[in-house]
Symmetry: C2
Subunit: 151 residues, 2 copies
Amino acid sequence: MTRNDSADPEKRMEQMLAKLKSRQFRITPQRLAVLRILAAEEGHPSAEEIYETVKTEFPTTSLATVYKTIALLKDLGEVLELGFPDGSNRYDGNKPFPHPHVICTKCKKIMDPPLVSLDALRDEIGRQTGYRILHHRLDFFGLCPTCREAE
Amino acid sequence: MTRNDSADPEKRMEQMLAKLKSRQFRITPQRLAVLRILAAEEGHPSAEEIYETVKTEFPTTSLATVYKTIALLKDLGEVLELGFPDGSNRYDGNKPFPHPHVICTKCKKIMDPPLVSLDALRDEIGRQTGYRILHHRLDFFGLCPTCREAE
DNA sequence: CTTCATGCAAAACATTTGCAGCTGG
DNA sequence: CCAGCTGCAAATGTTTTGCATGAAG
């Protein structure tokens, strides 16, 4: 598993493009715009935010296409989706692999803390990010014993 | 599957009831039914599932009331909400505090693993639960430096 | 009795889908 | 060319809300 931890937008862009090409997906201006935003964006934009930004450089793009592109990149493992109870999902095209987040419960700003290890982790992350950590979310996803058998 | 801290449904029920009473919220049969399910349910039911179960013991209950009751208990800190990208939220009235979960990506079954400590954690949880862990989610929620100041 | 809670239906969302027409390779 | 994309609008699914009626305290 290749992990690009360095935030080089240019490089990420190329990686995503290469993946699309290798799977014979077409390179359209709309997809390019979405790709560029996901690769360059330091934060964790929502679909709506991506849409708004795309429109400034390619005004005819529709929200549906943004969603379709995100879904495609998600399937290709090039985008990480962060789901929230209120239905305001956020996306990370920089680091499309599982990693911890600090999320402001007030303004929704999301940061990636430098990871260490979970009880002390909490305090350490609070210290390193300046966030006052109020709660956390740690979920493991996989196949339960029943579903493993059914494979 | 062993649960080292399995709560006593009876006790949880009382705790929630006490909280409602202390805040002067009315005890209605509908609320009692939802409370009973949340306290007794070992799993992590969705609103719809709670609704279906409630209807068997109190048929006139509406889905809206179930949502209102869940929201109330959530506000009171008596229920933990687990949000998912596809909008299928799940609720835990047994342990309304942050704790790790193992989630089957196929059948959506959710289990609480006995927690230990995050890299070895992954393997350990996989071993203890029988799940094949494919990915995880670890988010810390709190106030970012800017929002701390604004308080 | 006086709130507050309920239940219904409609609204509010974010996201997905069907399909006619457009376009990248 | 033509399979695969796009954009529109309508559909979807979950959660919320407005309001008249009903019941808890």
